[in-house]
Symmetry: C2
Subunit: 219 residues, 2 copies
C-alpha cells in the first residue's frame, strides 16, 4: 500500500448528524416530510442526488432550479446548525502521522468547496495532502470520479491505494473505481451495512484505524 | 399473540436525531466533547445512564446533582431543537388499527412524562392504550421494569406479548423481561445490530410492521 484516500463527513469530521437535521428541515420547508433515518442513510451522496431520490420516493417532480435552491438552503442551514466543524477522534493525529511518514494521502468529498473548507481547515492536513471536492468533478459519490481524480493526483496505482469511508456510498464508489475500501463507524452506519457494501475491514473510527494501520499494509 | 408494546423515540416518533444533537450540545457545554454517533447508539437508555457512561469513558467523575443538571439541560435543548414531535410513517395508523381491532397495546418509554407528553399526544393513541414512562419506574431501559409494568397493566401473559423497538436497549430490556421483540430501522440503528441483540424480525418502520402484522400472530 502506498496511498490512502479519506472521505470527509463522518470519516474525518463529525458532521453527519448536523447534515441530517439540516436536510430534514430544508425538505420540510419545501413541503417534503421525511424521517431523519432515511436522510442519514443518504448522507455522503451528492445533495442533488439526495433531493432527487427523496422527491422520487414522494412522487414529486422538481425542476433543476428547485433542486439547486434546496441544495443552497441546506448549505445555509447546515452552517447555522454546525458552525464549528469538529474533527472526529484520531483524525487530526492520523493525518499528521501520514504527513510525517511521507505516506501519500488525500481527502475526497462530495461536498462543495465552500461547504467543506471549514472542516478541512479544522483538520490541518499537511501541505502534501491532496484534497478534491464536489466542485472539481461532474459526478460525485456514489460515482467513482472523486476517488479516481484523487488517486491520479496522488500518482499511485489503484492497486496500491486504499479508501476509507463511513457510508455505503463511499464503499460503492471505491468498488466502482476498482480500489479497495475499509469502513469506519463514526458516521453512524451499522458495521454490517459497510461489510455488505464491500468494505474489507471496519474500524470504529480514525483513531482505531491509526492504531491498526500496519494491518492495512502501511509501514 | 394478544398484546403489543411499543418503544416511543425512534419507533413511533422521529426524535432520535434531535435527541442526539441535543445531548451532544449539552455534553459539550459541560466540557465533554463526544462524537454524535456514539451518542446516537445510546439513545433509548435513560439520560442519566447515558451521561454516566460517557463520563466514565472520558474518565470524568460527576456528582448526582451534576448528572441531574445535564439531564435537565438536555430536555430544554431538545424542546428547542424539536418543538414539533413528528410521528414516524405508519405509526398513527398502526395505533389506530390496534385500537379499532381491540388488540391490547401500550407504549413504554424511558423518557420522563414532561419530555414525552408532546410526542404521545401527536400519536393520538386510543384511550385503551397503556402508556408508561420513566417517571413510573425506578430503573428505565435497558432494565426490564418499564416493559414489565406495561405488560402487567395490559393484563396479558409475557408469552402472549410482543415488544417493538428501534434500539439495542429495547431488545435487551425485552429479553431480560422474557418477552419476544421485533426491531424497526426508523431510529437509525443497523438491521444486523438489532438481530444481533436478539430481535426475531426487523421491519423498516411502523408502516411496514403494520403491513405484515399477521406474520406476527395478530389477527
Amino acid at each position: 500500500m502506498k496511498a490512502i484516500i479519506f472521505d470527509l463527513d463522518g470519516t474525518l469530521v463529525d458532521s453527519v448528524y448536523a447534515h441530517t437535521l439540516a436536510w430534514q428541515k430544508t425538505l420540510s420547508q419545501f413541503g417534503m416530510q421525511c424521517p431523519a433515518w432515511t436522510i442519514h442513510r443518504r448522507i455522503g451522496m451528492s445533495g442533488k442526488l439526495l433531493v432527487k431520490a427523496i422527491a422520487r420516493e414522494q412522487r414529486r417532480t422538481l425542476s433543476e432550479s428547485q433542486v439547486e435552491r434546496l441544495d443552497e438552503h441546506h448549505t445555509q442551514l447546515f452552517h447555522k446548525l454546525a458552525p464549528a466543524c469538529a474533527p472526529l477522534p484520531g483524525s487530526v493525529e492520523l493525518l499528521a502521522y501520514l504527513g510525517e511518514s511521507k505516506i501519500a494521502h488525500g481527502i475526497a468529498t462530495s461536498g462543495k468547496h465552500a461547504e467543506t473548507e471549514g472542516s478541512i481547515n479544522a483538520l490541518s492536513p499537511s501541505p502534501s495532502a491532496v484534497v478534491v471536492d464536489g466542485d472539481m468533478v461532474r459526478e460525485v459519490k456514489p460515482e467513482p470520479d472523486l476517488f479516481l481524480l484523487c488517486q491520479r493526483k496522488l500518482q499511485v496505482d489503484r492497486a496500491d491505494c486504499l479508501i476509507v469511508g463511513d457510508a455505503v456510498w463511499d464503499i460503492h464508489a471505491a468498488r466502482r473505481a476498482g480500489i479497495l475500501a475499509v469502513g469506519v463507524l463514526s458516521g453512524g452506519f451499522g458495521e454490517q451495512e459497510l461489510y455488505n457494501a464491500g468494505a474489507m475491514r471496519v474500524y470504529q473510527d480514525a483513531k482505531a484505524l491509526h492504531a491498526g494501520i500496519d494491518e492495512l499494509g502501511f509501514d
